[in-house]
Symmetry: C2
Subunit: 429 residues, 2 copies
């Protein structure tokens, strides 16, 4: 009997289904948790439990492992819920993409179920319906680390359609791992936005007591329906408390902590604003939404890579690509040992652009001779742009420019708030 | 006449030498500044001026460029100064390596001169002699982005010699770009330290009003001569004010800003301590210095590279190496598209270890199936280790272990404070 069959038989015997609480006994260890949907990557012999502490754990099931049913999950009504509509409220579109925020439970009944539709996601946080009318669509359903360039393009197309069909704003629930890459990509691809485009994620799934999913979604709905922002933004917890949420510019936001709820920060700038007690407070400058049609400019050159500079990096570690984002040291440097290789590739046509592995601060390649030598070769300094944003922008620039000078001009022009104005703090703090 | 000759002739005519203030007039532009030593990378026709704002600028000199002498630099006494010796004071060794901190001026007379000896560096901050006796040596003199593995090894050897010859501690003035890589490398290479090993840098050269060079050096001398720390640490400005300096563990420190004086932070831990008003305040646990002999364990495998994971990264972007540090997204993920390539290389013998591009926080590859799949392949999770530290440690582990299991064991054992204990904040903040 195959391993998968062994497990299926055991589960059938005790009548346990996805969403039920089970106890697995293996030698002297006991594991109790909610049985999660089977993931395509997992072995057939692995059962995935969501433990009480909120973490998922895979346990290998063999002939000697015991499984007992502890509690059936509460029944979820099968009849299709109707989304309420109030003609006095603005209408927003929720476009599902996957991620932790979509691994939700009904946060009042506690029943765990996979997010098979964005509609269900909206219903799991019914407070949204007090704020706005909701249209929902699942664009794709995946872990955000698997998102590729083609997914950005599909998403941009759907966003433009929703706004051009009358939605006041768009919410995109998204996995946090690559949320900032997507928000930067959308910032360059979408033009003339007639409403806010709000990416939102969760660091803790909504079955955990400390989940940020509901509050982040409610704040995102507030920004999408009530603000006049015509930019791509990310709305996430601003601190570890539940009192305020930040509105980050899509090209300036970065995930700087693996697990904290306030992991997302605006880097080298202040957030556009905050959401506090359901009210939007604006802190910084932003582009206002327009009354025209949204257009898409989604061509991207995919032969681009990010290279992290470090001691011991060898000339042959720099590949032959159309574009390379160097994540240099300090103000924008690499070892002189790899400069000849950069020169060689650059002469053959590779476009190099420089960012810093410090993340905070601006690069300045005029201070030391290493930087000046790189400028002489033609490397494009990316000012205070985040490496992730510079990567997306270089893909976009390569697909939109006819020659090296045009690419350089695009990279050094502030298109979507990705380059901050120089301030005194850039040099003197 | 060659370009170099054109410039030499012009300079000779007006009697201008390195260190003098000159005014260069080119078309309608005037540039005034201190003439800096000629750098080997610069063109023969470039003159480098240190402007009043502290920045260096290269100006191209041609037949039509005018150069005028504004002010001769103050004469520096040519007679060799004798370093004072006080037998009641501890003795430390200053080992020069280069970097901004070595681009100094006499900070009282304002005269600019290149750091031709570490002795001069010590004399530029004579307050050090109130704290300790000083032995000086230049180990090498280079930009820190050019430092390679062999330089770490030479430095480790010299440090061990100095401590074993009776020095109470060692100071290593170092460029800030790769200071944290060097401090991590030394942390693994030096065993049984009989005194503090203190790396110190400057974000602003000492001819700038906001220079941090002098204060950082004085605090470093305090830690090297008065503390009982038996670890490799970095001492740098703790805030933008001049009131306190932090003592960072060598494996936990990172440069997180391109230009601020408080750019160095202890990540995922608290600093070992502070230096305030010349006094050392200890905050955290540390290894005490021993009374034995320092030994060196400096074997490193150099066929290791750091790979920054990002959307669009392709299987062929993962090279065939003995070791690869993945800088993954979030809790330690990569796109499922590159997992087969990782599996293939791993089966052929490449050791992969996972860190996070979030920098703050701990990776946890058990939460999502992507992480679990990578663990199954044998990828080593690096807990809350910094990518830079994990890189250096993997080079060290590969050179010290006989097989995959031993490498894994070394990577997951806390050797030099590089892995913090799990705390509640790792998951619940």
């Amino acid at each position: 009997m195959s391993e998968k069959k062994v497990m299926e038989k055991k589960l059938k015997k005790i009548g346990a289904k996805i969403g039920d609480v089970v106890r697995v006994t293996k030698k002297d260890n006991k594991y109790e948790g909610v049985m999660m949907p089977h993931h395509e990557f997992s072995d057939g012999k692995i059962i995935t439990l969501k433990l009480k502490n909120g973490y998922n754990m895979g346990v290998e099931i063999d002939d000697n492992t015991k499984i007992a049913l502890v509690k059936k999950q509460k029944e979820i009504s099968k009849k299709s819920k109707k989304i309420p509509f109030d003609e006095d409220k603005p209408t927003i579109s929720i476009l599902g993409t996957g991620g932790t925020i979509a691994c939700y439970v009904d946060y009042r009944t506690g029943a765990v179920h996979p997010a098979t539709s964005t509609q269900e996601l909206a219903f799991s946080v019914p407070d949204i319906f007090d704020i706005c009318n909701v249209k929902t669509e699942v664009v794709y359903q995946m872990f955000s680390e698997d998102i590729e360039i083609k997914h950005w393009q599909k998403l941009a197309k759907t966003i433009a359609e929703e706004l051009n069909n009358g939605s006041n704003g768009v919410i995109i629930p998204h996995g946090t791992d690559t949320l900032a890459y997507t928000s930067a990509a959308l910032s360059f691809m979408l033009k003339n936005l007639s409403g806010p485009v709000v990416l939102v994620g969760a660091q803790r799934s909504s079955d955990r007591p400390s989940s940020d999913a509901a509050l982040n979604l409610i704040a995102a709905a507030t920004v999408a329906s009530k603000s006049d922002i015509g930019e791509v933004v990310a709305v996430m917890h601003e601190s570890t408390s539940d009192t305020s949420l930040a509105i980050h510019r899509g090209t300036k936001v970065r995930k700087i902590h693996t697990s904290r709820r306030d992991a997302f920060k605006t880097i080298n700038d202040i957030p556009i604003g905050m959401v506090e007690n359901g009210k939007i407070k604006i802190n910084g400058q932003y582009r206002k939404k327009t009354k025209g049609k949204v257009s898409i400019d989604d061509k991207l050159e995919t032969d681009v890579v990010m290279i992290y500079s470090h001691p011991g990096l060898k000339p042959k570690d720099i590949p032959d690509k159309k574009g390379i984002i160097l994540i240099g040291t300090g103000l924008g440097h690499v070892s002189k040992k790899i400069v000849p290789r950069i020169k060689e590739l650059s002469e053959k046509g590779t476009i190099f652009a420089m960012t810093s592995q410090c993340f905070f601060g601006r690069i300045n390649m005029n201070v030391y001779s290493t930087g000046r030598d790189l400028l002489k070769i033609g490397i494009i300094p990316c000012e205070d742009m985040l490496p992730e944003t510079a990567y997306v922008k270089l893909m976009w620039a390569l697909a939109h420019a006819k020659n090296r000078n045009e690419i350089k001009k695009i990279m050094q022009t502030n298109i979507a708030g990705e380059i901050s104005k120089r301030t005194r703090s850039d040099t003197y703090l």
